[in-house]
Symmetry: C2
Subunit: 299 residues, 2 copies
C-alpha cells in the first residue's frame, strides 16, 4: 500500500565540527520520503521554488517517489542553515528562509485522497490539518512535530492530536508538552490528548513506543561515528511508515518491527551529510542492521 507524506522540502546548509556543506537536499518530507521508499510507494506533498536543483527532482524520481503533489512555485525554496556542536547532540539554527513555504497551500491530487497511510512529517500544524482535511478515512495517520510548533502553534497542534493515530516527538518535546519529567508519565498524558500510539525518540538511546498493549523499547543502532544527524528523526518515522504500509496484518502487530526498520534507516542517515548515505541504501544493507539489532538486544 502507498504512503502519503507531507512535510518540508528544503535546501539545508549544514556545518559540523568536521565539515560544511551547503544547499543539500533536506526537509522533513525529503528525508521521510526517501526512507519510506525502500519499503512502499511514496506520494510526496510539498513545495519548492524555481531555484530547486533539477538533480534533486531526479533523486526523488530515482526512489520512485510520486511528485504529483509537489508544487514548484515562483520564488525561493525553503532554506535552513544550522550548526552542530562537537558532541553532535546540540544544534543551533543559523538561518531560516521560508521562501515559497510562506504561501504554501497543500493540494492533493484527487487520486491521492484514499491513500491508506498518511505521514504528517514535521511542518506547521496548520498545514498538517489542511492535508488531513483532504483525506478520505485513511487507515493510519502519524504526525511528527518539533519544539517550534509547541512554542508558536500549540492550540493547532493539540487539535491535530485528536485526529491522528500515532504521534512522534522527541524526549525534550514530550517534557515540554506535558510538563512531566518522567517519560512514561509523559507518554500517558499524551495518550489522553488523543493518539493511541505515542513514540518518543531518544536519539542515541533509541525510541520508546507506548500503546494500549504496553511499552516497547527500540534500540538505536550503535554508531562509532556520526557525520550529520540532520533528518535522522524524519528518516526514522519515514522508514516506520514505509514498513507499515508494506507489511501484512494489523498495524498494532507490525509497529514494533516498523520502529526497528525506522531506526536502521535513521542510523544510515547519520553516517553521511544530508541524504548522502540514505539514498545509496540497499535492502540488503537494511536487513543486515536489523539482524544486528536483533543480536544487540538478545539475552
Amino acid at each position: 500500500m502507498s504512503v502519503l507524506i507531507v512535510g518540508s522540502t528544503a535546501l539545508d546548509s549544514i556545518k559540523t565540527p568536521a565539515a560544511e556543506n551547503s544547499r543539500l537536499l533536506g526537509g522533513s518530507a525529503s528525508h521521510a520520503a526517501v526512507a519510506a521508499s525502500f519499503f512502499a510507494p511514496v506520494r510526496l506533498v510539498g513545495v519548492v521554488g524555481e531555484d530547486f536543483p533539477r538533480r534533486y527532482l531526479s533523486l526523488y524520481r530515482k526512489h520512485h517517489i510520486d511528485l504529483a503533489g509537489l508544487q514548484i512555485l515562483r520564488g525561493k525554496t525553503f532554506h535552513w542553515s544550522g550548526e552542530y556542536e562537537v558532541n553532535m547532540n546540540n544544534r543551533r539554527t543559523l538561518r531560516t528562509e521560508l521562501g515559497v513555504f510562506e504561501s504554501f497551500t497543500p493540494r492533493l491530487p484527487a487520486a491521492w485522497r484514499n491513500t491508506p497511510f498518511v505521514l504528517l512529517a514535521n511542518i506547521a500544524p496548520g498545514l498538517q490539518h489542511h492535508v488531513l482535511d483532504q483525506m478520505r478515512r485513511p487507515r493510519f495517520v502519524v504526525a511528527d512535530t518539533m519544539d517550534l510548533w509547541l512554542n508558536i502553534a500549540l492550540p493547532e497542534l493539540l487539535k491535530l492530536l485528536r485526529r491522528v493515530d500515532g504521534f512522534v516527538l522527541n524526549e525534550s518535546e514530550a517534557r515540554q508538552l506535558t510538563h512531566e519529567d518522567n517519560l512514561f508519565r509523559a507518554a500517558k498524558k499524551i495518550h489522553r490528548l488523543g493518539p493511541k500510539y505515542v513514540i518518543v525518540k531518544k536519539g542515541e538511546h533509541g525510541a520508546v513506543l507506548s500503546s494500549g498493549s504496553g511499552l516497547f523499547v527500540s534500540p538505536a543502532f550503535p554508531l562509532p561515528r556520526v557525520v550529520d544527524p540532520t533528518g535522522a528523526g524524519d528518516s526514522f518515522v519515514g522508514g516506520l511508515m514505509g514498513y507499515l504500509a508494506a507489511a501484512q496484518g494489523p498495524v498494532e502487530k507490525n509497529l514494533r518491527r516498523a520502529m526497528i526498520y525506522g531506526s536502521v534507516v535513521a542510523s544510515y542517515c547519520c553516517e553521511g551529510f544530508g541524504l548522502e548515505t540514505t539514498t545509496r541504501l540497499t535492502g540488503a544493507a537494511i536487513e543486515r542492521r536489523v539482524r544486528a539489532l536483533e543480536e544487540l538486544v538478545r539475552f
Copy 2:
C-alpha cells in the same frame, strides 16, 4: 558459588524534592551485597564504627551475608549526605564524613581468599587493589568506580584496570576517562586499558556491554516514579555478580542475562529510600520484571 564484595558500608542521609531520610543503611557494598544475596552467598568486606546500628547488622544477616570480613572499629561510621534535584538525575553531595574509613585496611579471612567471584564495588582504588592482593586466582573480578577516583586517584585506577576482567562505570565517567564523546569508541579505548568486559551504565536509558563478542544493550525497567536512585548502580552490579556466581556455564554466556537481573534489582532499588524496597524483594518479584523486560524489547 560465592561472591566476595568490598566497598563502602555507610550511613546515608538523603534528601529528595519529596522527602528526607537520615542515617539509612547505605554504601556501595551494602547495596551490592543485598542485591547479590538474592542469587548467591555473599561475603562482605568493609568497615563500620561503633555507632553502626545493630538493626543494620541484623539486616545484613537476614540476607545471609557473611560478615566475617566486616570490621567494627572505634570511631564513627562513614556518613554521606546528598540531595537530589527535581528530575532525580542530578545529585549534590552535601557532606562526607569518612570516619573509620580513614584508617581502613581490608583484611580477608583466610577461607575467603579462594572466593571465585569478586566485586570491587565503588571505593578508593587503593583499597580495591588491597583486596585483590589477598585473593588467590579468582575466577571473575569486576570493578566499579566513581568520578571522584578519576579525579584524585587515576594512576591507581588505571593500574587496577589491568587486573580486572570487567569494569563498570557510568556514561559521563566513560567520557571523562577516555576524552571520547562517542560511547562505543569510549568502550573500545577502555578495553585497551585492560578489561575484557566493559559495562557502561546509562541510568534510565539502560546499560551497554562491550566485549569481544560485540555489544549488548540492556534496557532499564521503565519506572513511572523514582523515589531515590541512591545505590541503583551498586544494586545493578551486585545483582549482576550474584547472578553470575549462581549461573551454570561460562561467564561470557551468562553476562547478558546477568545484566538484566542487575537492572531489575536496580529498578526496585529506585522505588524506595535507601535499601527499603530492595530488602523486601522476593525471587518472584524479580522474575516478574525479568519477564517484563523480555516483553519490552521483543520485536
